[in-house]
Symmetry: C2
Subunit: 140 residues, 2 copies
DNA sequence: TTTTATTGTTAGATTTGTCTAACTTTGAAT
DNA sequence: ATTCAAAGTTAGACAAATCTAACAATAAAA
């Protein structure tokens, strides 16, 4: 709703909280720090910001939780990441580099460019009749 | 030679010096500021850094010049910009957005990804025989 | 249960990049 | 030649994001 534009850094932290929760069920400060190769106090400060923005919650000395809004924003960022990584791989980039570069691109590309990349990625189906081509197909 | 990795910000300033010199023959502080939508003191500070790095020179109160190294680095950045903008346009992105997104991407993409994008952009020629695909003009 | 190692937090320093305000230089118009 | 507006510079404030060092809480071992 509020759409407070996050810095690249905060987007990375939020996304990592989401990924660790998907992978481990819990997002701990130590693991966030390791995954982003920063020190724990950097994570702590970032979490304070994300809490202020209403995107995460945390019981002191425990794992980080996502609010509903945080969940929504994190999922959006992660989807961009997945899209971009797949796109780069399709161009022939190696998995590791695709992951790394997607991680940078996900914070900066305009909606228009992301849309065109989506189009590029799904020409498999959705071409039978070029009319009201609104083949929604329900993603996910 | 030294390969001091420039920040995104300094890359932007250096590239803009180059572009203004190509367009106007001279890169003035005021024009750099206008083009990057920052204030003149920000340009002044950036120029101090670029001078320290041996990439630009300047007579006090005059236009900015590029050193040989600065010229080389700036040209490399501009080439990336041109490549990426063309790539996005090929994907169907509008010119204005392509320019803006290329401007972000040019600072972050790995050499591998840039190479694959180059490959993607030039399948016009260089496809006759898929062998030592190093079709570097070789007359004969 | 007490001790100890691990994890998390707080405080404060540092770097980078921006800004505003004030000052200086330059060059064009009077 | 003098004045004055435009362009450039300097000084200093501020915000974001990182770090190290020191401290606090938790959990694991003894």
């Amino acid at each position: 709703m509020d759409h407070t534009k996050l810095s690249q850094s905060l987007e990375d932290y939020l996304e990592m909280v989401h990924m660790l929760r998907l992978a481990n069920g819990i997002a701990r400060v130590k693991d966030i720090a390791a995954a982003l190769t920063v020190k724990m106090p950097s994570v702590a400060k970032a979490m304070i910001e994300l809490k202020k923005l209403g995107l995460v919650t945390q019981e002191p000395y425990s794992g980080i939780e996502l609010t509903e809004e945080g969940q929504r924003v994190a999922a959006m960022i992660l989807n961009r990441h997945i899209l971009l990584k797949g796109f780069l791989i399709k161009l022939g980039v190696s998995e590791a580099i695709a992951d790394k570069d997607a991680c940078c691109m996900e914070h900066i590309l305009s909606a228009e460019t992301l849309g065109k990349i989506e189009d590029f990625m799904k020409p498999a189906e959705a071409v039978p009749s070029p009319k009201k081509a609104k083949s929604v197909k329900n993603k996910k």
